[in-house]
Symmetry: C2
Subunit: 270 residues, 2 copies
């Protein structure tokens, strides 16, 4: 006989792209809990419909809207009496909101468990062919707005380059408006910043960049070229991200030429 002693709150990552990126551990957990909530505004799956995800688990999922996540946390109150899971794309806990749930659980005396998933933060650097330990800090390009066009993503790349470090550039997600920034928009953003500087920036139209689309799918694209070449290339559907390489090791350059279609002349520059 199986005696159940603990009520738990589970934070479960769905992984990168579609319903089949969840781990066996994650799926088993979701099949056993009493209630499942989803937070899909910081990330979501593009390769599967919501119905497919529900069908795979075999139960209903309640999708939370933003203020339900950030203010009310009713799902945490329920977790005092039921096994509750909150699912999210990628790895959970990447968004600060999620780590705060654990803090709230701890204060409310609710046990919790985190079930990790594959994440863009590790998979995009991996599939770029560049060495993981040579990446500096990550930056994100936001959708600009009037009076909002921060230079910080460009500056982050410059700071990393100054230390010979590669940069993973994430692109804004506005799931509530169904807007996902493309590689093209991201590169355009960076070139606009460069043009607004009163100096030569560390990257320009001739700099090497890597556009990465749909990591985790069969349909993944990894394409290296100058910003000028990539800025008009059609990478297809979301999610997109960009890697700006620093100095390349020969093994990295060979990968970019052979796998990502970079011009062979990058091999001469090493």
């Amino acid at each position: 006989m199986f005696l159940k002693f603990y009520i738990m709150f589970y934070l479960v990552g769905l992984g990168l792209f579609d319903a089949k990126d969840i781990s066996l551990k994650g799926l088993e957990c979701l099949k056993n809990v009493d209630k499942i909530y989803a937070e899909f505004f910081t990330s979501r799956l593009f390769g599967s419909s919501f119905d497919e995800i529900e069908a795979q688990i075999g139960k209903k999922i309640e999708v939370l809207v933003r203020n339900e996540v950030e203010e009310e946390s009713k799902f945490l109150k329920e977790a005092e009496e039921l096994d509750v899971a909150l699912i999210t794309g990628g790895d959970p806990l990447i968004a600060t909101t999620h780590s705060d749930f654990l803090v709230q659980c701890s204060k409310m005396g609710i046990d919790y468990e985190v079930i990790h998933g594959s994440s863009i933060l590790s998979s995009a650097p991996a599939i770029s062919g560049l060495q993981g330990y040579k990446f500096g800090k990550v930056t994100t390009i936001p959708f600009p707005d009037h009076n909002f066009y921060p230079k910080s993503p460009y500056v982050a790349i410059e700071e990393n380059l100054a230390m010979d470090l590669h940069t993973l550039v994430l692109l804004d997600i506005q799931a509530h408006k169904d807007r996902y920034m493309t590689i093209n928009q991201g590169l355009e953003y960076l070139m606009n910043i460069k043009n607004s500087l009163n100096r030569d920036g560390a990257i320009n139209e001739n700099s090497l960049a890597i556009g990465i689309a749909r990591v985790g799918s069969k349909d993944v694209v990894v394409k290296a070229g100058t910003i000028d070449e990539l800025i008009s290339h059609d990478f297809g559907g979301p999610l997109h991200c960009i890697v700006i390489p620093s100095k390349l090791h020969i093994v990295e350059a060979e990968y970019l030429v052979e796998i990502a279609g970079a011009n062979k002349n990058i091999l001469d520059e090493i």
Copy 2:
């Protein structure tokens, strides 16, 4: 009728800790391929035996020794005629050896697919409660040897701190000798480097650190404290890693106090 057109080489990540951390996609792939090889010297699963992994997949796995991976690559030659998968702990492609397989596939005209897994590189920063975009470059502490005691891990932490960035510190794995560096050994290494400097280092015995053990398991430990406190703490079995925080945001500090047992006085310093 299902017609199979392509022979493929698959690089499949098993994820963080045990046999159940693989994705549904990864398991489905392994059930369908003709031959499975494993590379377990750059990473391996601690939560499951090799037999459990084989039983779950329902077929034999051939574990490669180092030179079979780095020189011979016979599994790639086989992939010209059979569906072959190479499995590894964590996310595949994290080790340079793996990205080179794809280069070789491309040169040999073999199609390939990467199936990602949960990785220490994203999951450890996540479970540390610190914000992902505030991490600088990763560093790894090696097992020292006579004439081999590099200062680079300590210097990497200092460089990150100078830019207000957190550091993920990975600890050496010598799978062939069944040696996995502990948090205690890692902190001791860092303090030895500090003591050897002819100046004040950026971290010392009173600096805050976070020890993380067994990410991805139910038995995960995340413990924050001064290096002096953590250096003698028993974190249990492998794998271990360390995070050295930079300046904390209030939300990060609250997590460290509530979830990781840090002294409440860190809240006053913000």
